[in-house]
Assembly symmetry: C2
Homo-oligomer: 155 residues x 2
């Protein structure tokens, strides 16, 4: 995520989305979301915990994991499996109730660690087709593409 203004907007969209879905974005959950959005790159649970401790000294692993579970459940953050880290959804608030997540893919730069979320329809379609050809009913797909980002390639 980027500028403070962008984060503020994302937080407000998150509040709206939660309100629409009848989910409670409590102060703790909102704070964890804020930390995720404020990180320069996908951030690990224990890094989040460290930052959380400055304002909540009693915080423990379950504190952050429970908040992350909520945020994941409601599509406000995603987990990057290859990094064991979490990143704010770049298109949050556009899901309906009971719609836990949307098709998405990550581009992870090997050089600088920057991670960008994309939502490529052709990729999602190809995946659904490939699964169907194997008689498989696809529900959700993790797509994490590692390589060199445009910025790093330019240097």
């Amino acid at each position: 995520m980027a500028e403070a203004a962008t984060r503020e907007k994302a937080l407000q969209e998150a509040e709206l989305a939660c309100a629409r879905r009848g989910a409670q974005l409590t102060p703790l959950r909102r704070q964890v979301l804020e930390l995720v959005l404020g990180a320069e790159a996908p951030i690990g649970a224990y890094a989040l915990l460290d930052r959380l401790k400055s304002s909540r000294p009693g915080a423990a692993p379950p504190t952050v994991y429970r908040a992350l579970d909520f945020l994941l459940e409601h599509g406000l953050v995603h987990k990057v499996e290859r990094l064991n880290a979490y990143i704010g959804c770049s298109d949050a608030g556009h899901g309906h109730a009971h719609d836990h997540g949307h098709p998405h893919q990550f581009l992870i730069c090997r050089r600088c660690g920057a991670t960008m979320e994309i939502a490529d329809h052709a990729v999602a379609h190809a995946i659904a087709e490939a699964a169907a050809r194997a008689g498989f009913v696809a529900v959700e797909a993790t797509v994490e593409i590692e390589g060199i980002c445009a910025r790093c390639a330019a240097t």
Copy 2:
């Protein structure tokens, strides 16, 4: 993996592939590969360690992780990130030297845990295209599709 005969064949192909590449498939590495291939589903490193201990009492985490590193490096096994588990490559031995891996995708059944490797060209192509559109040079992609397998859907 499946039948003992299939495993035997995969092991022999692995030996050939290593010979071609000048890599040493030592007894330890071969045994770990055998354990991975013999598992019913993707198997975790510590589960491998437990099984390994029956014949090598002194085995410790680095024992199995080093063997896995070798097998991963040479494309004989893959890691399933969503499961923190390892699975034998269903198309091993078809890579050239310095070719660490081939495009592949996994279909993971939520019900029974069965995990199948596929190598769908359309998916790989769509991913490369999507990355290129973002100015990104894709090097490797993790694609893990979760859903319901044909067998489970039939019940």
